[in-house]
Symmetry: C2
Subunit: 240 residues, 2 copies
Amino acid sequence: MTEPDIFYILGNKVRRDLLSHLTCTECYFSFLSSKVSVSSTAVAKHLKIMEREGILKSYEREGPFIGPARKYYDIAISKTYVTTVTPNLFWYRGLDLNESPIEKVNVDLTQIPMEHESFLEMVSSFLELSSELEKILLALQVIESRRDRLMKELKERYLKEIGDMTQLAILHYLLLTGEATVEELSDRLNLKEREVLVKAQELDRFVPLIIKDGTIKIDEDKLKQKLGGVEYAGENKGRG
Amino acid sequence: MTEPDIFYILGNKVRRDLLSHLTCTECYFSFLSSKVSVSSTAVAKHLKIMEREGILKSYEREGPFIGPARKYYDIAISKTYVTTVTPNLFWYRGLDLNESPIEKVNVDLTQIPMEHESFLEMVSSFLELSSELEKILLALQVIESRRDRLMKELKERYLKEIGDMTQLAILHYLLLTGEATVEELSDRLNLKEREVLVKAQELDRFVPLIIKDGTIKIDEDKLKQKLGGVEYAGENKGRG
């Protein structure tokens, strides 16, 4: 797949919805088909396009019950894409999420002047800003690599220890979005709203949540208390 | 335009090419049409789609010669989009490029453990990484705002002082990509390769370039020399 083809893939809502479900749990065809609001023919077409473009790979595996093998799909790429569109700039870049060892990035724009006497000073400042941009992109790449790896571990651990796919789907959504309304989760997971609430209450036994006024989020204070607040010196940094 | 519709717009090569030309110079219909390799009917269709989606705006203005007014196009959005696609994560975000006053960002991942005993520790680390991600996105937003503003000033200044659109187009491309081959520039600007070389040599009188083995880039050392190397204390930082 050449880089910008990802835009074509992401340019369709059904494909975006399918990708969302695929990041959360193991998905076979009829499961995916039940989660989106288009015909199974359309789902098959979108999955085929994404498989052809190398975004997805599929494999067959026996289901838990007697019957034909099911076709499962997995996302086959690990990338972050950045693009800027303004009247003066247009560029895009795909970053491979292979974890690199960089752990600290300092971006400092105070040295780069805001006003310029000469044209060459402007060129020089633009090059300086571009070099700070490269540092930012590197940091983005490292953070997303780590979040990807950690989410993988989280999913595996949750399924092993608790084993409830719907609770995991709620947790996955909350971790990615910060918070969610019951309606959003109901649409996303194709559940009734009262089912979302029941599942969220079950999840709350393992991961402290704030469920209030139709909104659900992770209770970070309670989480810190549970962890004893001593293990991570950096716990309070940058959160506010 | 809802956020992800930008992916639909960017999912087409002709539209991407049109956007590239639009960021570089003032563009009227027949100019744009001459720069891409599809029919003018197709160009009209793509411009119409982008105008309808709010990506472009158009206005009419008299040309330099007697004749009907020309229709010009401008990019009407200023945004950076970030999206991650992995087997475990899928999200996207549009960042508005309104300059914010933040000038320093420190991202420090050393406090966030790589290995975790308990499930809750994993959740906590994921939240920490997400909070560092927010800082990165903020920094990205600030840098792209500044690059956008500076590129606008650069374009205006160059046109006022030197006035050659093709030289400016070469400079614009070099500033965005770091370096370019003569072939790339020839394709991008729809010029013959020897014309690119002539224009690059003209540009070199104003902005020092290295033109060597069919590759063109800005001569940063010479640029620093020309600027006296004293005006920016931070000149050498982060470039290497």
